[in-house]
Every structure is written in C-alpha cells, then in structure tokens.
C-alpha cells in the first residue's frame, strides 16, 4: 500500500472498473433501444465509444495488453457504428455485452499480460472484426470514389458524412449546386430549396462559396445527392437557382487504404470535439468527483471515534469542577459548547458514512447481461425490469451483494420463468418478466427479485425435505404453507437438486441466506404456484454501523446484531429440560433449544440464574436461545474485525468501541448457530485455554 506503483495500479483498476461499469450501463440502454426497434441515440453510441477509447488509452499505459487489444478492436467497431459503416444488430450487441465480462475478468488477472489469455482474446477480436467488416465496408469507403475535396469533407458533421455515404451506396449521383441567396431571406430560401429538391434529391450540406456574393447576397455551394439523371436535374435547376455540376466518380480509386482516406483527421477525431456538449458535460462531472480508497474513509471514521473520546475526556474534566459556585457560569457555557461539539461530531460521522454510499444500479447493471445470456441459453424470453437503481447503499454491501443476487436472478430464470411454449399454453405472455426492485424502508434497503414464472410447489418442498431427512414426517405435518416455502433455505434441500448450466453450481438457497445474514440482512420468500416467486432481501444501509443488543455474560460486554434477534424473554431455570443431551425450554408451546453463553465462552455466568435472559435468535429457519446475564440496551455500533491473530477464534464477528475505550465483542450469530447445530469443527483454541 505504501508502494507508489501499487497505488497507481489501484487508481488504474478503479478507473478501468468505472469505465467498464459505464460501458455496461450504456450497452443496456442501447439494447433497450434496439429491442424497441428504435434508432439508437447517436450521443449514446458516442458515449460508449468514448468509454472504450479511454479504456484503450489507460490500458496501454498500464500494460494491460489484452484489455487494450480488445478495446482497440471494439473501438474500430464502434467507430463504424458511429458513422454508419455498420448497423446495430444482435451479433453486434452480443459482442459488446461479451466485452464487459471479458474486461472484468482480464482486469482481475494478477498478470495483465497473461499469455494463456492471448488465444481467447484473439478469438474474440476476430469475432469483433467479422462484425466490423460488413459487405458495405468491404467495398472500401465510397467517398473515396468521388472528388469531393477535403475542405468540404472536413466540415461535414458525422450525420452528414453518414448520409453522404448512404446516398452513394444507394446509387445516387452527387451534384454540386451553386446558388446565390439574398442574405436577408437566406433561411426561407434554403427551406424553399429543400422543398423543391425533396422529391428529386437530398441536400447533404451547404457551404458558403468563396467566390460569389456581395453585401446583400451570398453564394452557397449545395451538396446534393439525386437519383434523377443529370440532364433532367440541370433542366430543373439551372437558371432558376444556379448552376448544377455533377461530381464525377474517380476512375482510379485512391491507393490509400479505405480507413485512411483524404479526410483530414479533425473530422474523424477520436477525441470528443471541444464544442461537443456531451463531451463537456462528462469532463465536468469527472472534475467534480474524486475516487477514494474506502480504507481512507475508515481512517476518517477512526478519527471521529478519537474525537468523541476527547470529547468525553473534556466532559469528565469539566465534571470535576462541578459544585464550585464560582464556576457555575463558565460550566454552563462549557456544557453548551460540549453539546454543540457532539452534534457536529455526529454530523461528521453521518457525512462520512454518506460518502461510502453508491447506487445499487452498479450491481443491477451487471444483471442485464446475465439475464440476456441466461434467457438465450434456456431458450426463454425474459424482460428485465429494474426499479430503484438509484437506491444507495454502503459500497461494501453492494459488492458483497453481487453474488447472492446473481444466484437469485439465475434461479428465477432457470427454475422460475417457464419456456415460451408452456407460457403460451397457460395463456401467459410469451415473455416472462423478472423484476429487480430496490427501495428504502426505514434504516434498511429492501431488494426484491420477483418473477412471474411457475412459482414453487410448497408440498413438493415438504416432501423433499422429509425424503432427505431434513425434517421428520411428523414435524412436517405442522408446517404452514409459509413454513413449507421457507424449507427452501435449509442446507441440503436446494443444493445440487437440479444441476443446470445456470444455477446448479452447488450453491443453494441456504448459502444465499447465510451470506445475506452475514451482512446483517434477512431473506424471505413468497411464492404462488402459477403466478410467480418473490424473494425479498432486507439489508442495513451500511455495514459500518449496525444496531446491536448489548448484553453481558460473566460481567463482560457483548454486542449481538439485532437483525438476528427475535425477542428476549426472562430465563426460567426450572423450565429447562434436556432432550438428547441438549437443553431446551418451551416457549409458547414450541420447543426452543438454548445455549448458555457463559460456559460456551468459559466464563462464569451470573449466580442468580432466575435474573438471566434468553435471547431468542432466528437464522435460516432455525431458532436458538442464547442465555445471557443482563440486557444492557440497544446501540448503533461500528464493528471492526479482530486482527489476523484472533481471526481463528470462532463466534466473534469483531469488536466495537462503546466509548471510553470500552470494547464489546460482537457475536457472530451465524457462526454460533452452525457451531451449535452442525457441531462445527474442532476448536483448538478452547483446548489451548484449558
């Protein structure tokens, strides 16, 4: 981290990542326009072109050879697209979408030059080139065949140039029309000319000529393309407007390669033109933002923590002066200042947290590609609808969320949405809908992955759970419909059941649930057969601060993330029974296993057993009561991981500073659950302690 080269590398990767993300978002828009059979917005194509161009530039600087090679090929393709040498279509979109994944993979490589990647890159570049060389382009640039003159070509806008080429390809003849216009009525005259010309020819552009004209009039050279024979055109125009002159096809096409015509560089410049408005806008937005390593934000947060320590130390010093009448006035003033200081401090903390927030769209945009690809592989039609892409969350959560969400998305396409035939038979629209919705709800962000597919068969889930021994047939009888659906989160139920290309990668819904829980989130499922399935993920806005229940065990403070806690009840030692060596209590008629944290942690619990509490926690459809000594209260805590030295100690997610250097260990509820229910691994650290 102190190596400046590493820093530069990190900078590059961050910038490249942003460009690829921008590319991915823009491609999505391009694809949408294409699906609606609209002509894509020229500025959008320019934007995509610019992203790829910049990526090519910086990849070259940092030795990311493969990234540069791909970007270069794409740049040519996009340039063709931009000026109309090639047209938008599925194969073109496919290569473009494919590039996003390739870029991401290549950027993740340790060795940016990795020779083993070369083959794949070459194959990809060949695929890109095969699209770039559409027949129209193979003919070479049609403009080469005409003596239009570089002075004229250099002032053509891209659109004009594109139309010019298109007209030539359509077999139209080019003419140069010279006409003199009255300066005062020039606009009207040109409009009139346009109307006259309309049927016979197309005006490509008009330019003031250098020769004719005087104070009241100006001679314009109009570049025309027309299907009408020259004689007829002449008869029509000459005398009335001006002279008509055909631009002859050159007998000998220029020897320069097609891509290096006589067109001066300025008209084909790869860089945004200065007068280009969108170009200016994007430059401005770059200037207004800075990229910051998230660790620097953590450092800032630490300084805030330090400041609050100073604040409380000052408070204590002030309290020492209390009682002395001669200090009454200054003390009151100090108290007021102290409260003001505290407010600013909490404001600072909020602002720093705010900086960590990024829109969820960053991860959603990745799914467009996946949905496209998955739908095609599965021969299904799927429409992706995204709402709330602007919903902001902590950067770390957004990163962590990508994999679980991806699994849910793949599941929805693979198992949820039916094939076109099935949907038609069921009188559903042939195209299935997959919705990704995100919105704020209190201190949480809710993300829904919803499909209008076949839904889940709750009874089938129950049968499967019983047949796999995850549930006794007897217990299964008591399950509500929701309870049966929730079985999908049990380990071993969804894993490897239906192995497919898409979601059957040995990762089940239980893993999704565990990952979400680890982030302090909750997953729930709703499904109606024949109508669809909705998975709802609720997550805290930031990982940095979580709400925790502060408890004591053996006179030591611990924090238990509130997301896992269902309720706290007084502990009644007389109600404890033992079933197969495990202690349980009965709560509202249901058996609840309990785990006394004091012996688990090798601590001596409170002597007054009856004054203790049971914290009922829920995780992955399992409940467990932790027996603790006292409930201290709820607090927003910042969890910091324990160092590498203590990372092997199970059961703790980290520690949090409760102020005055007083630390509480944050309990890792998922780990404690799996230790209790699954036995966990051997715990060498416990032996060492004994």
């Amino acid at each position: 981290m102190s190596d400046p080269r590493d820093n530069v590398q990190q900078e590059f990767l961050a910038e490249a990542q942003e460009l690829v993300e921008a590319l991915s978002r823009d491609l999505l828009l391009l694809d949408e326009a294409h699906q609606r059979a609209e002509r894509p917005d020229a500025s959008l194509i320019n934007e995509i072109f610019r992203s790829v161009h910049t990526l090519k530039g910086i990849a070259g600087m940092f030795g990311y050879k493969h990234v540069g090679t791909i970007a270069h090929a794409l740049e040519d393709l996009l340039d063709d697209l931009r000026v109309g040498r090639t047209d938008i279509g599925d194969p073109l979109l496919d290569v473009l979408f494919d590039s996003v994944e390739r870029f991401q993979r290549l950027l993740a490589l340790d060795d940016p030059q990795a020779p083993e990647e070369a083959h794949g890159v070459d194959a990809y570049v060949a695929a890109v080139r095969s699209i770039g060389t559409q027949p129209a382009v193979e003919d070479g640039d049609p403009l080469d065949q005409y003596a239009i003159g570089s002075a004229v070509l250099s002032v053509l806008t891209e659109y004009e140039e594109h139309r010019l080429r298109a007209c030539i390809r359509e077999g139209m003849q080019l003419y140069r029309l010279r006409a003199t216009f009255d300066l005062t009525a020039i606009d009207d005259s040109i409009e009139a000319l346009r109307d006259v010309v309309h049927d016979d020819a197309e005006i490509i552009t008009y330019l003031p000529s250098l020769e004719g004209g005087n104070d009241e009039s100006i001679e314009l050279v109009v570049l025309l393309a027309s299907r009408v024979p020259e004689t007829e055109l002449k008869a029509h125009f000459e005398g009335r407007y001006g002279t008509v002159e055909a631009i002859k096809e050159q007998k000998h096409p220029p020897t320069v390669p097609p891509n290096l015509t006589s067109i001066p560089p300025s008209s084909r410049s790869l860089l945004p033109q200065p007068e280009d408005e969108t170009g200016q806008a994007s430059l401005r937005s770059v200037a207004n933002s800075v990229r910051v390593d998230i660790r620097k934000l953590d450092d800032l947060m630490n300084v805030v923590g330090e400041l609050s320590l100073v604040r409380s130390a000052v408070g204590r010093a002030v309290a020492g002066l209390d009682g002395d009448p001669k200090y009454r006035q200054p003390l009151r003033e100090l108290d007021r200042l102290g409260r003001g200081f505290e407010r600013q401090l909490s404001e600072l903390r909020t602002r720093i947290l705010d900086v960590r927030m990024v829109p969820l769209g960053q991860v959603f945009s990745k799914f467009a590609r996946i949905v496209r690809q998955a739908a095609r592989e599965n021969d299904k039609q799927v429409r992706l609808v995204i709402t709330g892409a602007n919903t902001e969350m902590d950067k770390l959560i957004v990163e962590e969320l990508a994999d679980p969400l991806m699994h849910l998305v793949r599941n929805a396409i693979d198992h949820g949405i039916e094939s076109v035939e099935t949907r038609m038979r069921l009188a559903k629209p042939a195209e299935g809908t997959l919705a990704l919705n995100a919105y704020h709800k209190g201190r949480n962000v809710v993300i829904e992955v919803e499909d209008d597919g076949g839904g889940m068969n709750a009874h089938k889930l129950r049968e499967r759970a019983v047949s796999r021994g995850l549930l006794t047939a007897e217990d299964s009888q008591d399950l509500t419909r929701q309870g049966m659906l929730d079985l999908v989160f049990l380990p071993g139920l969804s894993t490897n059941t239906e192995v497919t290309d898409l979601s059957g990668r040995g990762v089940g819904m239980d893993v999704v649930k565990t990952n979400i829980l680890r982030m302090g989130g909750v997953v729930s499922i709703a499904s109606e057969q024949g109508i669809g399935t909705k998975i709802t993920v609720t997550l805290p806005i930031t990982l940095a601060i979580i709400r925790a229940l502060i408890i004591t065990v053996g006179a030591r403070l611990f924090a238990l993330p509130i997301s896992a806690v269902r309720e706290a009840i007084p502990f009644a030692p007389q109600d404890v029974r033992t079933i197969q060596g495990r202690k349980v209590i009965t709560m509202r008629g249901e058996t609840l296993p309990i785990c006394d944290l004091a012996p688990l942690f090798g601590l001596r619990g409170a002597r007054q057993q009856a004054s203790r509490f049971v914290i009922v926690c829920e995780m992955g459809n399992r409940e467990l009561g932790f027996v603790v000594d006292e409930l201290v209260g709820q607090e927003d805590v910042i969890t910091k991981s324990l160092g590498a030295t203590l990372s092997s100690v199970r059961g703790f997610a980290g520690a949090t500073d409760l102020g005055d250097q007083k630390l509480a260990l944050v309990l890792d509820a998922p780990a404690l659950f799996s230790e209790y229910f699954d036995g966990g691994e051997a715990l060498p650290s416990v032996e060492a302690h004994a």
Binding site: M1, S2, M301, N302, V303, G305, E306, R556, L557, L600, F601, G602, L603, K640, S641, L642, G643, A644, T645, L646, S648, V649, R650, G651, F652, G654, A655, D657, D660, Q661, K662, L663, A664, L665, L683, S685, V686, A688, H689
Partner: protein, 165 residues
C-alpha cells in the same frame, strides 16, 4: 494501517553509515528483551482490556488504540517464562509485524539502548540451541548504576509475533 513501510532490522547493512542499532529494552519476568526500535510504533500505558473468550492463553484480549482494535499478547506467557508473582499490566508496546500491529504486554520498559554491532553476539554464531525468534544477545550497561552489565535478548518481532494464532 501503515504497516510494513519501515524496514525492520537488527543487522546493520555492510558499509552502512549507521553503526548503532536502537533497541527498546523491556523486562518480562526476570529477563530483559530487546525489540528493534524500528518495529516499535508506540509505548502505551495499558488501556482497558477486553478479554476474548476461547482464544489461546497468550492472548490477553483486545484493546482500542486510536479507533483500531489491537490484539494484546502477553510476553511472559508467550515466552513461557516463569512468573512468580504476576504484577498488574505494566506497559504495552505496539509492535509492527508487517500486516498487523500487535500489542505486547511487558512488565516494564527499561530504556532505549543504542547498540554497537560489537556488543551483539548473533545467535548464528552461538552454539546454544535458541528459539528462532532470538536474533542474538547483547551486553549493555544496566540502566541503574552499579548493578553491572545486563543481558539483553534480541527479538525478531516478525518471527515471534507474525502468524501467531
């Protein structure tokens, strides 16, 4: 954490201008140990300690230092020293072991000694079977006058604390 930026060495570079090696001398039990000053970030009065249940015995727990959570290792326990009557925590030195700062609890910080290379007898030249984290021993005049020379056991902090679990 700005760990790893500084080079930690007890062996002077050949031909190096710098001839003395600064070492922080600390006492633990009845012995005195030397940590290279370049690896010691800070010397602290012991902050409030939070025990970590189920961790190995040589871990006293965690402490908060400027917002960082730092693992505190008990030097006498780690070195399996016989301690007759254990004093309350004396001092904590924050030692940089590369990727982590680790707090080391010692009884007392004796002094910072400037060692001349000829004061040091390197472990590689000694026949005694020493632990891998011992670089060598040095003889230094005792901090308090009149008590003769003191043996300073020079520690390689990376070997002692790096990868500790």
């Amino acid at each position: 954490m700005t760990a790893g930026a500084q080079r930690v060495t007890l062996i002077p570079d050949p031909g190096s201008e710098e001839v003395t090696i600064p070492v922080v001398a600390v006492s633990a039990g009845s012995e005195t140990y030397g940590f290279p000053l370049s690896a010691v970030r800070e010397i602290l009065m012991p902050p409030p300690l939070t025990e970590v249940p189920r961790s190995a015995e040589h871990f006293l727990g965690v402490i908060a230092v400027r917002g960082e959570i730092i693992t505190l290792v008990d030097l006498p326990t780690l070195l399996k020293l016989e301690v007759l009557d254990r004093q309350p925590l004396g001092r904590v030195i924050l030692v940089d072991v590369g990727d982590e700062l680790i707090g080391v609890a010692v009884d007392r910080v004796v002094q910072v000694s400037q060692l001349q290379p000829d004061q040091i007898e390197y472990a590689s030249s000694m026949s005694a079977d020493l632990s891998e984290y011992v670089v060598g021993v040095a003889r230094v005049p005792a901090a308090s006058s009149g008590s003769g020379d003191q043996m300073l056991i020079l520690i390689d902090p990376g070997a002692l604390l790096g990868g500790l679990t």
